[in-house]
């Protein structure tokens, strides 16, 4: 009896390994497609757009981690996105001769660099700040919220409230951070290259692809294995997790911080590819859009988050080029359709039964027309195996 169990679990293991191999090959193939083929055939303008969409796909991964897997709907990821973007933009603004300060300060009569700008002169510090500052902010916010066992809708409302606080702060502080005008990075230089020049943009594009793959692998690693299963357990029944001897608070704070860090990296990459970061990255609709991308692609699938972000943003560009006024209606309709018809998103639908349906449509596979329970019931199968021996 137990030897059969072992052989079956070995079969499962082999299947799992094969799936992992296929996934690895697919990742490498897509990365090559994005890095080598598309730059050769797409015009520069389109490639830059794609780069921006791919950096938005990185935030979507972060949202999928916290919402899709752990079940915490964050409406405040704009904070972490913007913090990463501002960190990088501040460094670019500091590329000046000794003693000078960024030009916008003179408009407001500020002659001395605010203290918190100082460390952003250093490139290594900036690189760490891009993910560490959002992670710390997310961790602190998460700790305060989760320690008090605030869940569900209340968590979402709190994250949105935090978003509005951050927006108002960045929007109002002209003397510290140029307020509503934001920080323009286009004309700044990094390592002797103008940020908006094509070689620099190509580098940022390649970095975006690299980070997208890296963040995907990170999320994949986090969500497989015991830790990932525990995240799903927290989503499904948190008090059971507690009574099983786990303290969910630490796990939730950690995942929220990781998710924030991922959003920070995405924000930095997005900023240099769009040439500016303003407080509008912390407007309420933008953070809700992030959630829509994940919902459209499919929660708790990771691939779905990337796919949804690219698809929705591509549709937006296409539609707003043709009919500028229609986009918002379309976005609303898209969200309604997904929620009512495809609650698991596109990838979720494909995984559950869409794939078989498509195979049927194209004539590769016919439907099972008998009552299939006997074929699939493991108890029946086990008895059959024993009988045949």
């Amino acid at each position: 009896m137990s030897s059969q169990v072992l052989s079956r679990s070995q079969g499962l293991k082999r299947q799992k390994r094969r799936k992992l191999m296929i996934e690895g090959v697919a990742i490498v193939a897509i990365a090559f497609l994005l890095l080598l083929l598309l730059p050769a055939i797409l015009p520069e303008f389109r490639l830059k757009l794609l780069g921006r969409f791919l950096s938005l796909a990185i935030v979507a991964l972060g949202i999928d981690l916290i919402w899709g897997f752990t079940g915490l709907l964050s409406l405040g990821h704009g904070i972490f996105f913007a913090l990463g973007g501002y960190a990088f933009a501040m460094h670019l603004k500091m590329q000046l001769p000794e003693g000078e300060i960024p030009d916008f300060f003179t408009l407001y009569g500020v002659s001395e660099l605010p203290w918190f700008w100082q460390p952003f002169g250093s490139f290594p510090f900036t690189l760490i700040a891009i993910f560490l500052i959002p992670a710390i902010v997310a961790g602190l916010l998460g700790y305060l919220v989760f320690r008090n066992r605030i869940k569900g809708v209340y968590f979402s409302i709190l994250t949105q409230a935090a978003l509005i606080v951050f927006f108002n702060f960045f929007n109002g502080q002209q003397k510290l951070i140029n307020g509503t005008n934001g920080l323009k990075t286009d004309t700044e230089e990094l390592f002797g290259m103008v940020v908006s020049s094509s070689p620099a943009q190509m580098t940022f594009y390649s970095l975006t692809v690299f980070f997208l793959v890296a963040m995907y692998l990170l999320c994949r690693w986090l969500t497989s294995g015991r830790f990932g299963r525990l995240l799903i357990a927290i989503r499904d029944d948190e008090s059971r997790v507690r009574f099983s001897g786990y303290n969910p608070t630490g796990f939730k704070v950690f995942v929220f911080a990781v998710s924030g860090a991922i959003a920070g990296i995405a924000g930095a990459l997005y900023t240099v590819q769009s040439g500016i970061i303003t407080p509008s990255a912390m407007e309420v609709p933008f953070s809700i859009e992030m959630v829509i991308w994940v919902a459209v692609g499919g929660r708790a699938t990771l691939v779905g988050a990337i796919f949804g972000a690219v698809l929705v943003n591509f549709a937006r560009t296409l539609l707003s080029e043709q009919f500028p006024e229609v986009w918002l209606f379309f976005q609303g309709a898209l969200f309604l359709i997904v929620v009512t018809v495809l609650p698991n998103g596109i990838i979720g639908w494909l995984r559950s039964w869409g794939w078989e349906k498509m195979q049927h449509w194209f004539g590769f596979k016919s439907y099972v027309v008998t009552y299939p329970s006997l074929e699939t019931d493991p108890q029946v199968q086990q008895e059959k195996e024993q009988f045949e021996e």
């Binding site: 169990v5 009574f243 001897g245």
Partner: protein, 252 residues
């Protein structure tokens, strides 16, 4: 003292003045299988809430192996060795049966070792053994939401045992089960009673008769009586509580 695994000492819990438990005294010996019965609102579930740290007592104390449990959090009490089964099966529906058991049996439940640690072969063997005990070997790799109600109940009991607790608190394990499933759960609990102390809350009298050795009756937050099933059944106060206080009305 040392043979008592659980001691409830003069315990009172009041919610806005309503006393769910009222100066309750109760103790369970190590290795005992105890059944707790009582009409609705007698405080049975509140008692479990207090033992597992979900509710803080207003007065009195709970001792587990001589150590006071007041002030500990739910997960800390679970780590001390008290497992709790809820009234409705609470399992992780989107994980497989095996994964459900594995999460419960993880020995180091802090963040870092859950993230970094590898699943030891000892844990794997323990899970395989548990699957056999709860009779779900064939369905080990099925998602738990495909299980029947009775199988879910057995899985949750299996998850409790995976935590290697010394005391199991089981709340109405056979509510809504068929007769056959009820008997399965009953014999599972009897098998577990050989190596654990168990406190069962139950309404189903047939089931209580199947498993009970000592029965405790709660009424309005206090202990009404304690004894074997026979004694309890013939106790006039118990009959009064269950049938209503004025038997004349029942007659007419």
């Amino acid at each position: 003292m040392d043979e008592k695994i659980l001691e409830i000492d003069n315990l009172t819990v009041s919610f806005d003045g309503f006393k769910a438990l009222n100066q309750l005294n109760l103790s369970i010996n190590t290795g005992e299988l105890r059944v707790l019965i009582g009409p609705n609102g007698a405080g049975k579930t509140t008692l479990q809430d207090v033992i597992t740290g979900k509710v803080r007592p207003t007065e009195g104390n709970v001792y587990f192996k001589g150590k006071s449990l007041v002030g500990y959090k739910e997960h800390e009490i679970a780590r001390l060795g008290i497992g709790r089964k809820f009234q409705t099966p609470r399992i992780y529906l989107n994980l497989t049966v095996r994964e459900n058991l594995d999460l419960a049996c993880n020995r180091n439940k802090n963040l870092l070792s859950t993230l970094m640690g590898r699943i030891s072969s000892g844990d794997k063997r323990k899970v395989v053994g548990l699957l056999e005990t709860i009779g779900l070997t064939a369905k080990a790799d099925l998602s738990a939401n495909l299980l029947s109600h009775g199988e879910k109940q057995r899985l949750e009991i299996g998850m409790l045992v995976a935590q290697s607790p010394e005391l199991l608190l089981v709340d109405e394990p056979v509510a809504g089960l068929t007769d056959e499933e009820t008997e399965n759960v009953g014999s599972l609990l009897l098998a577990l009673a050989e190596s654990h102390s168990i406190l069962v809350i139950e309404h189903d009298m047939e089931f209580v008769r199947q498993i009970a050795r000592t029965v405790t009756v709660l009424h309005q937050g206090s202990l009404l009586c304690e004894g074997t099933m026979e004694e309890v059944q013939h106790n006039p106060r118990v009959i009064e509580v269950y049938l209503g206080e004025t038997p004349e009305i029942v007659d007419s």
